[in-house]
Amino acid sequence: MATPPRGLAGRLSGVERSLPVWVLAALGLVVLMALPLAWLAWISVSSERGATLAHYREAFTDTALQKALWNTVVLAFWVGLVSVAVGAPLAWLTARTDVPGKSLIRALVMASFVTPPFLGAFAWVMLAGPNAGLLNKLWREWTGASDALVNIFSMPGLVFVVAIYTFPYVYIMIANTLALIASDLEEAATGLGAGRLTVARTITLPMVMPAVVSGFILSVLQALALFGSPAILALPAGFHTITTQVWSFFHFPPKTETAAAVSIPLLLATALLLLVQKRLLGRRGYASVGGKGGQRRTIRLRGWRYPALAGCLAVMACAIFLPYSMLAKAAFARAWAQPLTRDNFTLGNFSFTFFEYGATRAAIVNTLELGVMTASVGAGFVALLAYISNRRLVPGHQIVAFLALAPVVIPGVVLAVALFIAYTRPPLLLYGTLWILFIAYLTKEMPVGYAQSEATFRAIPSDLEDAGRILGAGRLRVLRDVTVPLARSGVIAAWCFIFIGVIRELSASIILFTPNTRVMSVVIFDLKEEGQFGAIAVLGLVMLALTFATVSLVQAVLGRDVLGVRE
């Protein structure tokens, strides 16, 4: 009779041969996250004479920064409110009423969701700039007034332009929740004698309230972290927000310590807000809120059907129709402010952008390279991470899940500050190369990709793998024969989400780029300084085309739209 294997050899024979793969992936994640954040924290308190709080004191006693902080609070709060005011009725109309054109409205909300906000901001500069803005010109022509109707370079203008691209967060939260509340709950109350308003007040509203508040918080977070729109609209209006302020710390000579000292509280505030939002939703992640629930009764709007549709389309006019057509017009016009007549029509902007202006070509190449590289590496990486945590392959797999989702709380500029500090010194000198942008994008897009991948593996029962193992396949072989083929569409979707995120990224790129490593978003931003609106419009259209092509790929692969899965 053989004795059971003992000792080191026995132990090793029992160890999974695939274990190094999982451990390496998990360690890679830890390094990716820990290195920059540790440097950020350290630099914020470091000085030549040891630890100090001087940088914090310096930063927060600075009146300019205090003003920027206050502006950010005002901006974020109003964006949250406007997003709820727009997103909630839209969600209710499409989820519960017989408003016509529901699928069109949904498609447009999705379009608004994926539109890079800074492109919208540019378009609105051309639409509502005080002097040359198209709407203001029309206003003057019609009324003979000498004053502008609206000035987009103002706090209300900024709130408006940010909110038209953040309300989809509220929309998604509320539409998903409404889809879950069976109307028999409401009908039960009606049966007990409650009037329509009473039902709305006592049943529907309390059930939807957590979704409303968490939609509000998500919008606030977006506004808080946004760099592009404030830089385009607030700076000309003469005020800073916290993100533009942090960015300005990097103008020569760079004040990294101060930037770090501002970044840490911003990071904590974001984390806190997200924590509140999670608590509100309870343990049910909104991404997983599916279309379960009982029968839902459609509310008949009768005479209000078309006015309601008109309201929805008015919102979409602001978010999609007007800005998109403005960009299209500027792309084909010699002078964007003039009517698009035969004389004013040109393809010169395209040849200028693609062939003459060196910076744009290089930027398009850089962006595509980074997009493909980050999406490919990222999709593989998040798939590994999601697999590790879903199948509990390493001790501490909960930490893997936590770290993979953690970048959600890191605003782009904060991430950039941390990466700048971490990779401008040994052992990894990456600043000045595309690699630092790669790492920034990988980190920033990881949560989205991870959430998608986790859902993919959750949908593949581990029985399917176990069945392969017991028949003679090792874990890696099962991964190849069973898991990968079944996860393919989910991984492609994760690839697309990361790609979309990368090509539109501005807030981290703007701090991390160098003259040789400019990307499309950065060039668009630079072109503004030169007044090259035609080239901006062309690049914007390219970006939108890439985005929508990728979005349609996701829809084809997953058989559902992007709103259902993305946060």
Partner: protein, 360 residues
Amino acid sequence: MPGVSLRALTLRYGDVAAVESLTLDVKPGELVALLGPSGCGKTTTLRLVAGFLTPEAGEIWVGDRCVSSAASVVPPERRRMAMIFQSYALWPHMTVAQNVAYGLRFKPQLSRADRDRRVREMLGVVQLAGYEDRYPGELSGGQQQRVAVARALVVEPEILLLDEPLSNLDANLRDEMRLEIRRLHETFGITTLYVTHDQAEAMVISDRIAVLQQGRVVQVGSAEEIFHQPRTRFVAEFIGRTNLLEGVAVSPDAVACGPLRLRVAPVGLEPGARVVVSIRPHAVELVADGGVGSASNTLDGVVKRASFLGESVDYEIALAGTDVVIRATTPATRRLRPGQRVTLHVDPEACVPLPDQPAS
């Protein structure tokens, strides 16, 4: 053909013991059912045997190989076992033939032609010839089940593990597949562990049944032994319906239940010990009032309720002079009415005394 031996296996999840010092021997070529309610540790036991889990203590031996111990576990792919899952676990992206052939990929000594032939033969055995190119999603539940069986058997495993393989089938199909699995076992003679919570399934399919309770084997035996000679109150209650009468032993073969005195199967009771007497409903004979019963174990009662079940009638009978209600099942040929006085008789051999431990 080796047997399987589980020796004092223990596995805890946190503080909860899923399997606690579990010992069981499966002889070569034997089919043993692991039977128990949900949460009794039967699936955990099966996954320990398969090598998906590592025991905290104890060992698993296959023939003269130790395949699992706390120190070392042979991975599932090197155990020469096959498993049939509750969900069937068919790969949706592979055809029936590809599913069945998968395990043969890891037998390099087989030529491609041999593989194809064995797949064809096995699909013939499970009556799925002609379905080679279908995908699992295009098959009925019963057909999927057969593919899962074929996929497991085609590799000629030393040990076959089945995890509630029939629980997703509807009742008629389940009855059919029970006999089918038994037939396949008799044909191939593979040492088999079969997890189920369905006692009827366990009785039809297995050579022996191991009843599990809270991670331990509480009784192992043939279906008849377990049904007629349950060793604990839990086993008596879990396998079939039974009447349990609490009492005190008065002699090695007699128990006093209140004013009643029952002669019981002779197991050598300690007088004065607290016991529970298990009496199967079908072992209770009913004699209409005035009928002559035999001398011992004859009780008087009144019919409280009679439920006609087609082939049989189920009675609830209140025993005279006590608050005990006993259930009796008789053939449907003769009917008693509620309120009618009856005399009951129970063969002492059918009165099984059990130690009176609550089912904890």
